[in-house]
């Protein structure tokens, strides 16, 4: 008996931190689903298991459901077993599984809407779907009940969804599944889904393959489906991790303090990934302090470098900084601008508690005066954060630079 076990596809998920790339990420996830089905078809798997959370929510739109059904139709040779998870529980008429669209669900797809047993290719497939979003009850107990009524000579494959009852790692109301649930229910294999990283327990009989498509940068143990082989009843299952993820998630940093090094490193890395740039989710964090001009230059360079990576984003954590020499020059040439910069430093220090560079600060505007000025423009200065001051500094310096570039005023 050969199985491809997947879970937590969460199709239709929202990616607020990746706007405006979220729609692309959703489409990529659908592509990965297709990839996994193709794998099952190519490997001539006896069954493709979806252990919960095929959909992110019961209220995903019909286009997503249609896309899934279309893939089911496309891979009609693959016998598919699905249990609803906590994201898409079979909990009522408004459940995604009760939509009219699923009336046309192909016959090779079985959705366990109720705890039940299906016999397929000489094996029992026992499904314990989730019918609510939270519960303290172990859903595998249903499987044990079902299994107790079955003949003992056939392979038993269980499917359910929930957290693993690891002390300190799970929440009580999150469908805690006993770590020996497979053995307890007399199952040869228990396909579980919920957590997004790969987990194996009960001597390889209980597997949680994690999400097949990572949705965060720190999910190292995701992006797989489980390839399971069970030769006979009570024989230990043979297990292989099969990578299916379409997207590779990477974070790179560009430090302004070592801009040239950062450039070299970043260019090298991007070059390595350029071949699968469309499948790389890339976040470049611009950090460190620099002159606005340098920051603008770095930002410009990074944006250009990321041009081939459609799923990339630049997170700018840089701060404006100018050297003492530059500051001295500004003091000399533009004392009013230097005075305003000093004001910003002092106000930032007073309001946010940021450290203040050593130097004279007596000429800075008193904070109550600054507050009065701000209040006239309806600005709540006391709620300002460092980013505000940084932006103010940056605007001042950029404007000064621009004015200087444009030549002397008339």
């Amino acid at each position: 008996m050969k199985l491809i076990h997947s879970a937590d596809w969460q199709l239709g998920a929202r990616f607020e931190q990746f706007i405006p790339l979220s729609e692309q990420l959703r489409q990529a996830r659908l592509a990965t689903f297709q990839k996994a089905l193709r794998l099952a078809q190519d490997e001539k798997a006896d069954a493709f298991l979806i252990a919960g959370d095929l959909f992110e929510d019961n209220q995903v739109d019909d286009s997503m459901v249609k896309a899934v059904l279309s893939l089911f139709q496309e891979y009609s040779a693959v016998r598919i077993f699905i249990v609803p998870g906590n994201h898409d529980p079979q909990c009522g008429p408004n459940s995604v599984w009760n939509r009219d669209l699923f009336r046309e669900c192909p016959s090779h797809v079985t959705i366990f809407r109720e705890p039940s047993v299906i016999e397929h290719r000489g094996a029992y497939f026992l499904g314990a779907p989730l019918q609510q979003k939270v519960s303290t009850r172990d859903p595998s107990l249903k499987l044990a009940e079902l299994a107790s009524a079955l003949a003992s000579d056939k392979i038993r494959i269980g499917l359910t969804h929930g957290s693993l009852a690891i002390p300190g790692k799970h929440q009580a109301h999150d469908f805690p599944i006993d770590l020996h649930a497979a053995t307890r229910a007399g199952l040869d294999y228990l396909a579980v889904g919920h957590w997004h990283n790969w987990q194996v327990y009960d001597e390889g009989r209980l597997v949680m393959p994690g999400t097949p498509e990572p949705d965060q940068f720190d999910q190292s143990e995701s992006g797989y489906v489980a390839d399971i082989r069970i030769d006979q009843r009570l024989a230990p299952p043979a297990m292989t991790r099969r990578p299916v993820a379409s997207l590779h998630w990477h974070i790179l940093t560009f430090n302004l303090l070592s801009a040239e090094d950062s450039k070299l490193r970043l260019a090298q890395q991007l070059n390595d990934w350029r071949n699968h740039a469309e499948h790389t989710v890339l976040r470049v964090v611009l950090e460190g302090c620099a002159h606005p001009e340098a920051i603008a230059a770095a930002r410009s360079w990074i944006k250009q470098a990321l041009g081939d990576f459609p799923l990339s984003q630049l997170v700018d954590c840089s701060a404006v900084a100018i050297s003492e020499a530059e500051l001295a020059q500004i003091r000399h040439e533009h004392p009013l601008a230097a005075q305003a910069l000093l004001d910003l430093d002092v106000l930032e220090s007073r309001i946010t508690g940021a450290p203040l560079s050593p130097g004279p600060s007596e000429t800075a505007i008193p904070i109550n005066e600054a507050q009065r000025l701000a209040a006239e423009s309806r600005i709540d200065l006391l709620n300002w954060k460092q980013t505000h001051f940084s932006q103010a500094r940056q605007l001042l310096l950029q404007a000064l630079q621009k004015a200087q570039q444009n030549g002397a005023p008339a």
């Binding site: 405006p20 209220q59 997503m64 000025l373 006239e376 309806r378 605007l395 004015a403």
Partner: protein, 894 residues
Amino acid sequence: MILESIQLEHVGPFIRGARVGPFSRGLNILAAGNESGKSTLLRAAIRALFDRHNCRDAEIRMLRPIGTDLAPRVQVVFEVQEGRFQIDKTFWQSPRCLLSHWVNGAWKPVAEGDQADIRMQALLQSRIPGRGASQAANWGLTRYLWARQGELCEWPEWKDEAGRLIQTRLAQIKLDPWVDLVRQTMREIFLESFTPTGQVKVGGPLKRAEEELSRLDEQLAGIRSAQREMEETEAEYQRLAVDLKFFEEQCVRLEEEAETARQQALQAEQLNARLRALQSELETAQAALMTARQDSDRLDLDRRTMADLQSRLSQDRQGLEEACRLEAAAHALVQESETRLEQHRADRLRVQERLQQIRHQLKYGRGLQECRELEALLKNTSQAASQIQKLQEEKQRIPEIKPDLFRKLQILEEKIRHLQIQLESLGLVLTLTPFSKAKVQLPEENFEIEAGECHSVRAPQNMDLVLEGWGRLSIRSGSTEIQSLLEELRKSREGFHQLLLETGVAGLEEARRAMQARKELEGQLRGGQQILAALLGEWPGLEAIQKELGKRRTRLAALAAVLEMTDSQDLPALADLEAREQSLQTQFEMMEKEGTLLLGESRKIRDDLTRKSERRQKVESELLALQTTWTGLEDQVKRLLERYPQGLEAVLRDAQVAFVKAEARLAEARGQLPADYEKLPERNRRAAAAAQQARGQRDQKRTALARLEGHLKARGSEGLYSRETALLERRVTAQSALQNARDRGEAARLVHDLLIYHQQAATRLVLGPLEEKLSWAFAEISGDQHRRVFLDETLQIHGVGGNEQELVPFDHLSQGAKEQLLLCLRLAAARELAKTEPQLVVLDDGLVNTDPIRQKAVLDLLQQTAQELQILVLTCHPERYLGIGTPLSLQTTE
């Protein structure tokens, strides 16, 4: 900017047109009387320089000559740093605008329409407002350098760019031009999203982001509301599902119970039906037994009754014979009594007829006597009535004069006499004494007068007389009193004669006699009538007596016919008749009593006969009844015996046996029935009703659940999560845009404000030299060298005084001091600005509060600064400016 000329057409008082200029580059004095149009000239120039040519604001409308709809046209020639220009604007109707540049000795059009307005704005560094006419704040430097009428004591705040420019130049601050650009950039960045007062700017990126966010939040709220509603529906669905399960189970249980109850009731019903059949059998057997018993009892009774009847029949036959004998005896007595009674009746009838005859005769005699009395009465009354008739006819012949009428006649007669006396005393008296016998003719009479006889003729007023041998003599009196007396006399006479005619008498005396005669006749009439009344008594009149007499005579004739009497036949005396009537009456009464006794006796005998006959009939009917009864009983016994051919005893015995058996079967069947079998049908009905009710409740829940299911399915297919996702992702973008716009704007504003703050701080450092300049100029005018002018950090004049602690605030200074101080400030500002571009200072009707001594100092100052500036003084006091500057005049078009 300096001005070269201003030309107006259709403006204010200048309907045809006016022109002023050319202005000199120094001091220009335009002197003219009040309301001559000086200020209108200045106002029109301002509108031409700073307003849109197609502006239709009230300020523009006010330029039009009063009462016309002429289009104001203003042409201004001016000079700025860029050269010499001419602006020509026609407002209101068909607005036009043309800006020309003096190039190579000729005017060259450089812009027209809106473009010309924009170009003007650039040349004059002014601003055109979004709508409406421009305000002083839009006029750039002019706002500060042109003191319009009434503005000499006011100084605007240095808020705009022009103000800041002057401020900077005055204080001679070494401002960093790049920083100024930075400040402007910061301001522009701030103004992208905010208004100058810090409000969110409509149409700006921040507002757009806010609006987008608001729209998204609204949509999100809608989706969340739908989600909440779905969750509530889902919870309701779950509750209903649980309820339905309960009702389903309850329904099954109650249906089972109902089925059990139905079966039990059915069995009980079957047993009960058998019981009823057995009961019926028992009742049948019991009825048969009862019938046999009753028949047996009746047979015995009938036989005993027949024996009794036989005995009574023989007794009754003897009784009947005795009754017949008694009845015959009574019948003979009755016949004897009736014979006696008939004889008595015949006797009594004869006596009665005789009595009737006597009574008729008596009545006839009395009637005859009454007729005679009535005839005598009729005769007497007829005579009395005839006498009265005669008196009345005599009375009719005498005229009727009532006392008041007579009184009226008396008054009129008295009045006439009185009037005649008056007339005689007033009228004409003609005394005629002829010499010879003469005849005199008057209208009323003719008479003769002997010779020498004196005769007086009187007439009230006129007198016509003919004197024979002499002629007619007419005398007329003109007295009006006599006229009125005559008129009154005539009327009185006419009235008097009219009354006499009406009463039918000739005069007053005759009237008196008539009255007397009528009075006497009326007395006689009353006496006659009293006699007649006494005769009539109660009779209403002669006719009534005659009628009654007629009636009585008729009745007497009828009685005479009854009595067959003739007139010659004598009627016995009334007393005899009355005695004979009395005797017959007594006899008749006795016979009446005797008849009554006989009748009573006869009735008794007849009653006895009736009783005897009734007795005989009764005995006969009893006998017949007894015979009938006996016959009936005989038939009944016969029929009874016929019904039981096998014998009544045998039948009675068989019925007894059948009854006992039926009773035993019934007891057995009753033993098989459940103890509470009577309650089973009710229980069955109750269970069925409960099951039905449960089915109803279950169906209700099913329907509700199906409804919710449909609703949830529909809601579930709406893709709320995906829609929410799309909105949330858009919201993040909008939120980010909003935050960016806000942060950027606020950061720029803070930088801008900090730069201003430090600029002002720098200004404060250089206030001293400027204060020195102004103090010197003011001391020159006022002649007081000990006072200083103090400025605040915004270069507003703070006050004047020996030191900063004891200064007189600007607002507390006299109007003269204020206008002089501000003149100094204006001149200082203009001089500073004139270093880069020629400047015009306008003083419209200024220095009105300045005394003659200071006026001279002011003129010195103006003359001195006019070397660097163009100054235009508009005044209605030309004598104050004699000898200085270039005099100008308003040249109006004829």
